[in-house]
Every structure is written in C-alpha cells, then in structure tokens.
C-alpha cells in the first residue's frame, strides 16, 4: 500500500503553485508531506516551490527534455515510487490530462478529471466535485482505491502566499525511455491571457456571424460598453477569427453582463458562461436554446440589431456618432 501525503505536478508553473495550495491543505489534514515534481526544460527554482508549500521537491534534470509523454510518465512514476503519496494531483492542461490517466492505469487506480472541489473524508477517501453531462451538471464522486489521482483545472484554487520554510530537494533519476512519438515540428500559438476571465462585460460571437469582417459590428458594441470580445469554439478553432473561445473546453467567464450574439447555446458553450450575472442573447431562431439560459433575449437578425444597440448605447452615454 501507499504511504501518506500528497504529490502535485503541473508543467504549467502557475497551476503548479495553485496545486501546492490545495495539496498543502490536504497534506495537513492527512498529517503527511507535500511533494512536488519539477520537470522542465529550464532549471526551476526548487526553493520557490518550497516557499509555496512543498516539503519535498523532486527535480528531474534533463537538458534535452522535450515534453515527451514517455519521459514525463516515467519521471512521474519514479516520483510516485519515491514519495508513495496517497493523493496525486495533476494540473488539468492538455498535457496533464494525457498524463493523469496513464499514471492511474500504470498504478491500476481510478482518476477523477477536472475537479472543482476536493476533500478527504474520514475514511481517507478523496471526494471530488466535477462537471459532467457536457458541463450542465455537477457530480460528487468518491475515489476509493489508493493512490487517488485527480486533475484540477487552472484558477480553481488560488496560489498560496509564499513564506520561508524548510524542505528537501531530491534529484530524480530515470532510465530515459524510448520515445514512441517524435515531434517533428512545433508551431507556437499565442496563449490565452486572462482578459476574458477578468472582464466585467463580454460581448460574444457565434456562427450567426457570416464573415470575419462582420465582427466589426461586435467591436463597435464592445467599444461603447468597454467590453471584451469572446466567441464560441467553431469561430476560433475552425475559422481562426479569434484566438480564444468560451466554454467547457475554453475560458470560463464570470462577467456582470454577457451578450451572446448568433450563438445557439449548446451545453458546451453554456458551461463557460454560467457564472455570468446577467445574460443577454440575440438570435434569429426563437427556439434557440440560448434563450433558455438567458435573462433577456432579442429574437431577430443580429445584423439589424447590433448597429441599433450600439447606437442606442452611444446616445445614452452622451457621445456623438
């Protein structure tokens, strides 16, 4: 069986610090140590991880580290062997989500993905709340085997306050595994900033927009409202009109006002806007699902409505056209 304690890992530094906070809480409840793993291309500051709550830092140094799944799987399993944690938390980035189930299968245990709440019960089982049914419901789940494996999305937990503390830094040695996949090219993308997450007002576009140029209508509205612009997944991922999208697989937003234009309201999109204070939708189909999830709906053509809305708001703001 496993020992006590918690092991956390994410290749995303900020997310790792967030996991350290939750990990610290769970470790204290279990009276066990908190370990973390650092695998990176660049040497990272192990002392910093200790200041943020780690008792043990396992460092894997490999100047040629290329984020290959076989390598980080092996390194993480070695860290699990050394730390024998009861709970393993992995950051739910795409890389984290391909790692966690592999680790869980190697350890023949369960895995709860995308957890938004975590708690240890009296019996030492890990309880988690996670989104299910496309994001339309929340499940409460219990992990009964040891070790417990869970993944946690960004920004669910805040990072800890750093403090001067003691900890141990240990080097991980693994026999470098044979790579089963070779990366022949990497095309860097701009990574989403936090503008959408922090926005007070968001105006968002869906497939109701026919051409990229038409987004101008939304930009005008955004300008008068001081809003950020968002969109549904197809506009970003298929058409490349914008970089980021909102929803279960994109940004989760919580503005005071969300204006959905030409968006049908699939569960995957709604899962990202549920925490908005007021939702307004504009859709030409009176049966569109988005109206079920809105406070105020306008049935009609966004091409006709948006210019009027922008003009009306401008007038109220006392600005001339």
């Amino acid at each position: 069986m496993t020992g006590k304690g918690v092991l956390v890992y994410s290749e995303d530094k900020e997310l790792e610090l967030q996991l350290l906070r939750k990990g610290r809480e769970l470790a204290d409840e279990m009276n066990g140590p908190l370990s973390t793993v650092s695998l990176a291309q660049e040497p990272i500051d192990a002392d910093e991880l200790i200041r943020y709550g780690a008792d043990k830092v396992f460092l894997y140094k490999d100047p040629g580290f290329d984020l290959n799944i076989e390598t980080y799987r092996a390194a993480l399993l070695e860290a699990v062997k050394r730390a024998s944690p009861e709970v393993i938390l992995i950051g739910s980035t795409r890389r984290g989500r391909e790692l966690a189930p592999r680790i869980a299968s190697a350890l023949r245990t369960g895995c709860m993905t995308e957890c938004i709440e975590l708690e240890i019960d009296e019996g030492g089982d890990l309880l988690a709340r996670r989104l299910v049914y496309g994001g339309s419901a929340v499940a409460l789940e219990r992990s009964r085997n040891r070790p417990h494996v869970a993944t946690v999305p960004p920004r669910i937990f805040r990072r800890a306050e750093p403090s001067e503390r003691n900890g141990e830094v240990m080097e991980l040695r693994i026999e470098k595994p044979k790579h089963r996949t070779i990366v022949v090219e990497r095309r860097e993308k701009s990574r989403g900033d936090e503008a959408l997450e922090n926005a007070r007002i968001i105006v968002a576009a869906g497939r109701g927009f026919r051409r990229r140029e038409d987004l101008k209508l939304l930009e005008e509205l955004a300008k008068v409202l001081g809003a950020e612009i968002g969109c549904t997944r197809p506009l970003a991922a298929d058409d490349g009109w914008l970089n980021e999208w909102i929803g279960i697989s994109g940004h989760k937003v919580r503005p005071r006002l969300y204006i959905a234009c030409g968006i049908s309201g699939t569960v995957q999109h709604l899962a990202g806007i549920r925490d908005s204070q007021v939702i307004v939708s504009i859709n030409k189909d009176e049966n569109a699902n988005i109206f079920q999830a809105s406070d105020y709906g306008l049935v009609g053509d966004l091409y006709a409505i948006l210019p009027v809305l922008t003009r009306t708001l401008r007038r109220i703001r006392g600005e001339s056209i």
Partner: protein, 264 residues
C-alpha cells in the same frame, strides 16, 4: 492497412437531456442515447483512412444490449462491424474498468493498426480512455489530434495543445484520440441506413474475455455519489417591441435597472 478499431461510447444525448426541476437531478432513465459527437469524428477519420489505405473498420463499445440501436448509426456511416462488450443492462463501470474491458477486447481483435477514440466523452467529460489504453497496450499515444495522415506506413499527426500545435510521427499500431476540429462527420444516406441493418453486431460477453469477472460486479475505484444540475435561475424574458429600435430601447432599460451598465 490492417484493421482500424474505433472506440464508440453509447452516451447520453446531451441535447435532449432534461433535469427534474424538484431534485435538480438529470433524468437519465428516459434519456435518449447516441454515439457521441467526438466518437463520430473518430469514426469518420477511420473511414477516410480506409478509403485511402484499405483495411476494415470495426467499432468497439463497452455497453449493453441497448447499445445496438445507437451503433446502427455507426454502421450506417460505414463501419464494417460493431463489437459490444456486454456488461449488462443498467450496470455502471468506471474508467479504469472500462479501459481494462476495452484492452481485453482489443487483444481479441488483434492484429490491428490503429485505435481511434475521442479526446473525451461529452457526457462524462472524463478524457481518460485513449491514454489508459496506450498504457495498458504499451502503444504510442497521440492525443488531441486535429489532422491525421499515414505516410510511408507511419502516422503523422497534428496535435492541438494550448501553447502550440505539435506535428508528431509514430509507428503503427498506435492509439490516437481526436479533437473536434479533425473533420465533419458524414451524414449517412437512406440507402446506407437500410444496409446497416444487415451488418454484424457482435456481442462479447465479459466471461469470454481474459479479465476477472469481478471487475464488473465488484466495487469500482470511483463511485458516483450524486449528480445535480446547479441552480441557475434565469429570467428568460423575451424583449419585444414594434420596431428593432423599440426592442433595443426596452432591453437597455432592463440592463440599466439590473445595474450592469455603468451609464453616466
């Protein structure tokens, strides 16, 4: 090209899922079941590879007798055969158990060149099966694939990660999980829907697989305690006026009253 195995989940149709207003629980019993959207895209990709490279396309589902109905859609799209690992009606198994059952069934379907699945099932949002199978079968794993090709007998794929697109190569056989952008699945013609009814759906009993029978009947590593749709009370007011100007005017009044517009 040898056989391509596509993993298809018999999943709850999310577009029609209703919630009991008093308990906030999703009404699963009467819910319609369908092959998930991403799984269809995995199948579409398999069919396209078959069209170029030959071979056959089998689908594999851990489900029960009732899975036959949703699987007809896969056969109509063009799959050659469907396999169901029948765990019994109303039985729920977790991702660990599902992956062990899939592994055992996949071993029965050897030789194969490719296993295709979705990056996650949209109902349980668990995103585990691809990586778990790669681990259990010790195969190359390529996740989040939005473009796939076979070049000189090797796989070439474009993976969609948050910070980069990665172009990767791997030898066959391999496990590939696809993302939504990989293709647009075909809509079967009436003819192919008719023809699908005569295609084989083969049931594999758990007892016939090389697994301990307790993995289905015994306790699961993950237990679902409850499922609840969060309380979201929306006002659902449709704002109407004689003209667009009038409707917009009314809408703006509502928004000012809500205090969400900082109008000076």
């Amino acid at each position: 090209m040898n056989r391509i195995i596509v993993l298809l989940k018999d999943a709850v149709d999310l577009s029609e899922l209703k919630v009991d207003p008093s308990t906030r629980r999703p009404l699963l019993e009467g819910a319609k079941r369908r092959i998930g959207e991403l799984d269809k895209r995995a199948l579409e990709e398999a069919l396209r590879i078959k069209e170029r490279e030959g071979g056959e396309v089998c689908t594999l589902t851990v489900g029960d007798e009732r899975s036959k109905t949703p699987l007809l859609e896969a056969l109509a799209m063009g799959a050659d055969r469907a396999y169901i690992v029948n765990i019994g009606t109303g039985v729920w198994v977790d991702a660990l158990t599902t992956s062990i059952l899939l592994e055992a069934a996949v071993r029965r379907l050897t030789p194969f060149d490719l296993i295709l699945c979705g990056e996650m099932s949209l109902d349980s949002l668990s995103s585990q099966m691809g990586p778990r199978l790669a681990e259990l079968l010790d195969l190359p794993q390529i996740t989040y694939v939005k473009q796939l090709a076979i070049e000189g007998g090797r796989l070439k794929a474009v993976r969609d990660l948050e910070d980069a697109d990665e172009v990767v190569q791997a030898d066959l056989p391999a496990v590939v999980s696809v993302s939504r952008e990989i293709n647009e699945p075909r809509i079967p013609s009436l003819m192919s829907i008719m023809r699908a009814k005569s295609k084989p759906i083969i049931t594999l009993d758990v007892a016939s697989l090389d697994v301990s029978p307790e993995i289905v009947s015994g306790g699961q590593s993950i237990e679902i305690i409850s499922v609840e749709a969060p309380q979201v009370e929306r006002k659902r007011i449709i704002v109407k006026g004689e003209t667009i100007e009038e409707s917009v005017e009314k809408l703006v009044h509502h928004l000012v009253a809500e205090g969400v517009l900082e109008v000076r």
